[in-house]
């Protein structure tokens, strides 16, 4: 197992920076997820680690050794691709054996290791099949076995589940996580699906436009976003613009006590998750006024979508009422914010940072 250290990594494509001076450390044995919208540079970073891209600047070390100048075939990483990338002319067995053959393993040991790897992904009986005879989920499990059988220093996965249907995605991500914990292998996992990232990771790195927005545990990412982008990207969250005036926070027509002392005139963004809003009895200066657009029953709670009178839209979760009645569409409601993170909205280098 190995840790990965990246310092000042820059990658440009025809002058455009796809990665903007990244610094990060991935710990030995952890499940580390790169999360962000399409085009933010996740694949580029992963391919940099695998050696398919060479960084224009910066250093990469795997297990403490400089790896930035090793060619990809000597990096001892195991990669799983989005489109499976199985060798179509080789059987399942030969696909998995491919990396071991490159390493010149003796026959008996090779067969034993291939069968062990196939058993781990529950594909033992499929060794003789050809890739085209497998379902998508089976193909990806072959790809996983093929990457793991060489006992790589790190496992790299680029959106491995995105070609599978929803049900299978959940099953397979669980399998992947269990296997990773069992083997204790350092894993770098790329996804644009925040729910998937929260479910499987030890730590998540949220990226936007080639920059790191936050690195932290799923809890930290969800509960304590350090950047407005993270707040908006993870889970349902309303972002409301506001301003500090007369010592109070003016947001969507309401005046709220600021959670921390803020300079007069500061422009801010308040992030409110559905559970951060409670239904109030009536209007008040610290209430958000609006009308119900949509009420959806979710079982444990009811989620209201409310169009604010001052413009904008928020979602609020209501605990299940005793009478179980849903508020009518168009009914006026008043919501009390229970507090949420506040971000700097003033244009400039600090824009988006957490203020309080």
């Amino acid at each position: 197992m190995a840790d990965i250290s990246i310092r000042g990594a820059v990658k440009r494509f025809s002058g455009q920076e796809a990665l903007k001076r990244l610094d990060l450390d991935i710990r030995s044995g952890e499940f580390f997820t790169l999360l962000g919208p399409s085009g933010c540079g996740k694949t580029t970073l992963l391919r940099l680690i695998a050696g398919f891209h060479e960084a224009d600047e910066g250093r990469l070390a795997i297990a403490g050794e400089d790896a930035g100048h090793l060619p990809p075939w000597r990096r001892e990483t195991g990669m799983v691709f989005q489109n499976y990338a199985l060798f179509p002319h080789l059987s399942v067995f030969d696909n998995v054996a491919y990396g071991l053959r490159q390493r010149g393993l003796p026959r008996a040991e090779l067969a034993a290791r291939v069968h062990e790897a196939l058993a781990r992904v529950r594909l033992g009986p499929f060794a003789a099949r050809m890739p085209e005879q497998l379902s998508g989920g089976q193909k990806q499990r072959v790809a996983l076995a093929r990457a793991l059988v060489i006992r790589p220093r790190v496992l790299l996965m680029d959106e491995p589940l995105s070609n599978l249907d929803a049900r299978l995605r959940i099953d397979l991500r669980r399998d992947i996580r269990l296997l990773q914990q069992e083997l204790g292998i350092t894993t770098v996992y790329v996804t644009h699906d925040q729910e998937e990232a929260l479910a499987v990771s030890d730590r998540i790195m949220v990226m936007e436009a080639g920059e790191i927005r936050q690195i932290g545990t799923p809890h930290a990412i969800y509960d304590a976003p350090e950047h407005v982008f993270v707040a908006g990207f993870i889970g349902a969250c309303a972002l409301l613009p506001g301003r500090v005036r007369g010592g109070a926070l003016e947001i969507a027509g309401a005046r709220l006590p600021p959670p921390a002392p803020l300079p007069e005139g500061a422009e801010v963004t308040l992030a409110l998750r559905p559970q951060d809003l409670a239904l109030a009895e009536g209007p008040g200066p610290d209430r958000l006024a609006g009308r119900v657009r949509l009420a959806s029953f979710l079982g444990a709670q009811t989620r209201l979508t409310v169009a604010l009178d001052a413009g904008g839209e928020v979602e609020a979760d209501l605990p299940r009422g005793a009478d179980g009645r849903l508020p009518a569409r168009g009914a006026p409601v008043h919501l009390a914010p229970l507090g949420g993170p506040l971000f700097d909205a003033r244009p400039g280098p600090g824009q988006g940072r957490r203020l309080a």
């Binding site: 025809s14 100048h69 000597r74 990669m79 989005q82 990338a85 390493r103």
Partner: protein, 564 residues
């Protein structure tokens, strides 16, 4: 021509430090094309600007050409028979494609095989067979005379066009048929629901989508006839075209006029290039419509007496007439002959004569073709991979250069080769090498395209997976790409073999007594009036061709790839 994905994929992976194998392949590709295409063409081009006898630099050869009624006539004749043949091929190939794609014809599978077969039989053999049938004293001619009818002569422009159309209509058919298969049935159904009558729905929806196939098919026929040497030389008599003119100017008994031959060659290449440009212009901004995953409209059963009678008669009529030459050739090769006169009795005398007099042609043909094939397969695989996977200014230039051999008629290539390679250090005139190399360069572009087409279909990630698992690029190419490319390469190679073993127009300029080939033997036996021997050599050619096509089918080649 280039899938859009390619640009992105090409950028994705630059080399890993320093020059690698593929830089070497790029360089070698340039070297080969420079030596075998640019240099000979350049020599012809240069020669065309130096006056025939004085060697003075200027346009005097072109002045001579356009000042002479005889030369001008050759130019017009070439244009006329090429254009008429293209029209004729459209007139036969298009309706046949529509009928075969939309109606169930009895024995339709056999019809399609026969269509491809007539494309594969060498053109000069078609010409020769029609001489046997419709020439002076031809079988059909005599029957008709006995019945008091005068059949039109097979000699002259009409005959050349007739033979060319029967030989080449499959090019139009294959492209149009392929296009019809790629049109989604919902389109025509939608048009029908919108109230159009079926025929009308077809014209408004399917027909426009076939335009690329029609234009490309017509162009391919035009180019093939423009550069054909066999049919005009056998059927033309006094009807001169550019290809035969260049040949006669170069090799005439009275010393030849190399500068005028060069001038004619340059004009021929210019015409072919112009035709390609025209096709590009006509198809600019259009991609080939539809894709192969759609459900093509179903073939409908024949309805009504007229359909039931006329459509099968049309389809079967075309393929039977087009394949008649094969039958005639093989049949007459087993007849007793005296000179151009066939007897009644069966005999193997023609074959005995072949092996006694031109046995060398058989072994030569097989050897030369096999050698050329090995070169084509190796170079085609490497260059095809390179062009599909690397997108740099250099590979794009290479791609463009590879287009040139498409438009060089065989006769011109032959004359260019002799002009360029008749002095040390490259004194190749009269050698085996010059023929093999000519075959190689003529068919290389087709093989490169075929190989590149396969590589495009393989996800780059498959190669990256191999590299990631520890196989360096060269081993990855060997272990992953080559096996994946093998069936396609083999299919491409058999087609190349068929083309090469039937090559006449370049060989006729390059051969000597030692390097005579089967097509040359056939040609000179026909010219010399030894029809039986000619039929026997031609039958052997047909046999080899048939075997190669059987291999092609075995390795899973597809009809629609044949016109690559």
């Amino acid at each position: 021509m280039r899938p859009a994905a390619r640009a992105d994929a090409g950028r994705a992976r630059r080399r890993w430090r320093g020059p690698d194998l593929w830089d070497g392949v790029t360089l070698a590709g340039f070297a080969v094309l420079a030596l075998l295409v640019l240099w000979p063409l350049g020599q012809l081009f240069r020669a065309s600007f130096h006056a025939e006898f004085t060697g003075e630099f200027g346009l005097s050869n072109y002045a001579t050409f356009f000042g002479s009624r005889y030369f001008r006539a050759a130019l017009w004749n070439s244009l006329a028979i090429s254009a008429l043949s293209a029209l004729g091929a459209l007139a036969v190939g298009l309706p046949l494609a529509v009928v075969m794609a939309r109606r169930r014809i009895p024995g339709g599978g056999a019809v399609r095989i026969l269509i491809v077969l007539s494309l594969m039989s060498p053109p000069f053999i078609g010409a020769y067979a029609w001489i046997i049938l419709l020439g002076r004293g031809g079988v059909l001619t005599r029957w008709a005379q006995a019945a008091g009818v005068d059949l039109p002569s097979i000699y002259g422009p009409g005959g050349i066009v007739f033979v060319s159309v029967l030989q080449l209509y499959p090019l139009v058919f294959l492209l149009a048929y392929g296009a019809l298969q790629r049109i989604d049935r919902s389109l025509e159904e939608a048009a029908a629901i919108l109230g159009r009558r079926p025929a009308n729905a077809f014209l408004t929806t399917a027909f426009p989508m076939m335009r690329p196939a029609v234009v490309t098919g017509a162009l391919l026929v035009f180019l093939a006839v423009l550069s054909d040497f066999g049919a005009p030389i056998l059927l033309g008599e006094n009807f001169e075209v550019l290809a035969t003119l260049a040949f006669r100017l170069y090799l005439s008994e009275v010393g030849g006029e190399p500068a005028m031959a060069a001038t004619t060659s340059v004009l021929l290449v210019a015409l072919a290039g112009a035709a390609i440009l025209l096709q590009r212009l006509l198809l600019a901004g259009r991609s080939h419509a539809g894709d192969s995953t759609v459900a093509p409209p179903e073939r409908r059963a024949l309805r009504g007496a007229a359909e039931r009678l006329l459509l099968p008669a049309f389809a079967w009529g075309v393929v039977l007439v087009a394949n008649l030459p094969l039958l005639v050739i093989v049949y007459t090769s087993f007849l007793e002959t005296r000179g151009p006169v066939f007897g009644e009795a069966f005999s193997l005398m023609s074959y005995r004569t072949v092996f006694a007099t031109v046995g060398r042609a058989v072994t030569n043909s097989l050897t030369f073709s096999a050698l050329a094939l090995a070169l084509i397969a190796v170079a085609g695989a490497l260059l095809g991979y390179l062009l599909a996977r690397r997108d740099t200014a250099a590979t794009r230039a290479l791609d463009a250069l590879l287009m040139i051999p498409y438009v060089i008629p065989g006769t011109v290539l032959g004359i260019g080769f002799i002009t360029a390679f008749n002095a040390p250090p490259l004194y190749l005139t009269g050698t085996v090498a010059i023929i093999v190399v000519a075959y190689f360069i003529r068919r290389l572009p087709y093989m490169v395209r075929a190989a590149a087409a396969i590589v495009y279909q393989v996800d780059r990630a498959v190669e990256e997976a191999s590299v990631n698992l520890g196989a360096p690029p060269l081993r990855t190419f060997r272990k992953i790409m080559l096996p994946l490319m093998a069936p396609g390469l083999l299919a491409g190679a058999t087609l190349a073999f068929v083309e090469v073993i039937n090559e006449l127009s370049a060989t006729v300029v390059l051969y000597t007594g030692r390097t005579v080939t089967m097509p040359i033997a056939t040609y000179s036996q026909v010219i010399g009036g030894a029809y039986g021997t000619a039929a026997a050599v031609a039958s052997l050619l047909v046999l080899v061709t048939g075997l190669a096509l059987a291999v092609f089918n075995l390795v899973g080649g597809r009809e629609d790839r044949m016109s690559l």
